[in-house]
C-alpha cells in the first residue's frame, strides 16, 4: 500500500476516533485542568509552526524566501483589516468572530490572480 493511502487511512481513523471520543466515552468525566489547558494550546502552537514552515521552508530543509512571504503578508493584512475580501461590497459593520474563513477564500483567489512568478 502506498504512503499516500496509509496516511489517508491512519489520519482518517485517528481523527474520527478523536472526534468521537468525547461524545462516546467522557460524557461526565473531565481531564485534569493542566492537561486540558495544555491540549487547548496545541492548536495555536502547531498552526504557528505550520505558518512558519510553509512560508519559509525550502525544498531540502533550511529557508527559502519567495512569493509565499508576500502571500502571508497579504493574508495578515486582510486579517488585520478584517476585510471580507471575497466581495467588493463594503464590509459589514461588525463581522462575527467566526468569519475567519473569509480571508482564506480571498487570499486563495488573490493568489490565483497574481501573475505567475518566473
Amino acid at each position: 500500500m502506498s504512503a499516500v493511502w496509509i496516511s489517508v487511512i491512519v489520519v482518517g481513523v485517528a481523527t474520527m476516533a478523536i472526534k468521537a471520543a468525547g461524545p462516546l466515552l467522557l460524557a461526565r468525566r473531565t481531564l485534569p485542568p493542566r492537561a486540558q489547558a495544555a491540549l487547548e494550546h496545541l492548536a495555536p502552537a502547531l498552526l504557528a509552526a505550520l505558518v512558519v514552515t510553509q512560508a519559509l521552508g525550502g525544498d531540502n530543509g533550511g529557508f527559502t524566501i519567495d512569493a509565499r512571504l508576500a502571500g502571508l503578508a497579504a493574508g495578515a493584512t486582510a486579517l488585520l483589516l478584517r476585510a471580507p475580501s471575497w466581495s467588493s461590497s463594503p464590509p459589514p459593520p461588525s463581522p462575527p468572530p467566526w468569519f475567519a474563513w473569509s480571508p482564506d477564500g480571498g487570499t486563495a483567489r488573490a493568489a490565483l490572480r497574481r501573475p505567475a512568478p518566473g
Binding site: V11, A14, K19, L24, G71, G75
Partner: protein, 230 residues
C-alpha cells in the same frame, strides 16, 4: 470563548438543521474555495485523484489535510506526516469533550454526528448556557462537509489542467490559510504565547531537520497552557 453573536438565541425558539445550514453559508463558500486549493495541492503532492477526496470525507479537517499534503509533497516521510496531522487534530479531543452531552441516541449515532464537529460548526453551535445546539452543529457541519468535499473534487480534477500550482501562486496562499486558522485560535494571551513558542521552535529546528519534525516539536509549546490551569 468567542461566540457567533448573530446567532445567539433572541427568542428561546428551537433551532433547526436548516438554521445551521444558513448560519454556515458564508463559511461554506470559503470552505469550497479552500477545498479546491487542497485538491490542487494534494494532486501536485502526488496523492492522486481519489485519496484526497476520501481524506476530505473521513478526516474533514483542513489544517491536518494540508499538513499531510505538504509534508508528503516535500518528501517529509509518512511518519512525520501522520504525526503532524494527528497532533493538529488532537484539539478535537477537548472540543469533543465540550460536545459530549450534545448528542443523543445509540453509540454509533453519537460517533457519526461527532464527525461533523469542525472548528466553525462548533463555534456556530455555541449556546448562551455554554452548551452546544445539536441542530445548529449538524446543519452547519453538513454544509461545510459538502462544500469542503465538493471543492476537493474540483481541485483534484483541476489539478490535471494545472501543471504547476506554484506558477499560480497557490503555494503563496498556503501560509496565509494557516495564519487565518491560527488567527481564529488566538483568543487569549496564553494562546498567543503558545503560537509564538511554536513558531520559534519550528524556526530553530528548520535548518537541521527534515520537513515535518519542526511542526511536531512545536507542539511542546502547548505546555505554556499548563502553567496556569483555569
Amino acid at each position: 470563548m468567542r461566540r457567533p453573536a448573530d446567532f445567539q438565541a433572541k427568542e428561546p425558539g428551537r433551532r433547526t438543521y436548516l438554521d445551521g445550514v444558513r448560519a454556515a453559508a458564508p463559511i461554506g463558500v470559503a470552505a469550497l474555495a479552500f477545498g479546491v486549493s487542497f485538491g490542487v495541492l494534494a494532486r501536485a503532492a502526488g496523492m492522486g485523484r481519489v485519496a484526497p477526496v476520501v481524506m476530505s470525507v473521513t478526516t474533514f479537517a483542513g489544517s491536518a489535510q494540508f499538513a499531510v499534503a505538504s509534508i508528503l509533497g516535500a518528501g517529509g516521510g509518512l511518519v512525520t506526516a501522520i504525526i503532524a496531522a494527528v497532533l493538529l487534530n488532537l484539539r478535537y479531543g477537548p472540543i469533543g469533550l465540550s460536545a459530549a452531552t450534545t448528542f443523543d441516541g445509540p453509540w454509533w449515532r453519537r460517533a457519526l454526528t461527532a464527525q461533523l464537529i469542525v472548528d466553525e460548526s462548533w463555534a456556530i453551535a455555541q449556546r448562551d448556557d455554554g452548551r452546544l445546539d445539536r441542530h445548529l452543529l449538524i446543519g452547519a457541519g453538513l454544509l461545510l462537509l459538502v462544500g469542503w468535499t465538493t471543492g476537493t473534487v474540483i481541485g483534484t480534477l483541476a489539478g490535471d489542467l494545472v501543471a504547476d500550482p506554484e506558477s499560480l501562486g497557490l503555494d503563496a496562499a498556503v501560509p496565509a490559510l494557516f495564519l487565518a486558522q491560527l488567527w481564529s485560535q488566538i483568543r487569549e494571551r496564553s494562546r498567543l504565547l503558545a503560537a509564538i513558542g511554536g513558531a520559534a521552535i519550528a524556526l530553530v529546528l528548520m535548518p537541521f531537520t527534515g520537513p515535518g519534525i519542526p511542526i511536531v516539536a512545536a507542539s511542546l509549546a502547548c505546555l505554556v497552557g499548563a502553567r496556569r490551569p483555569r
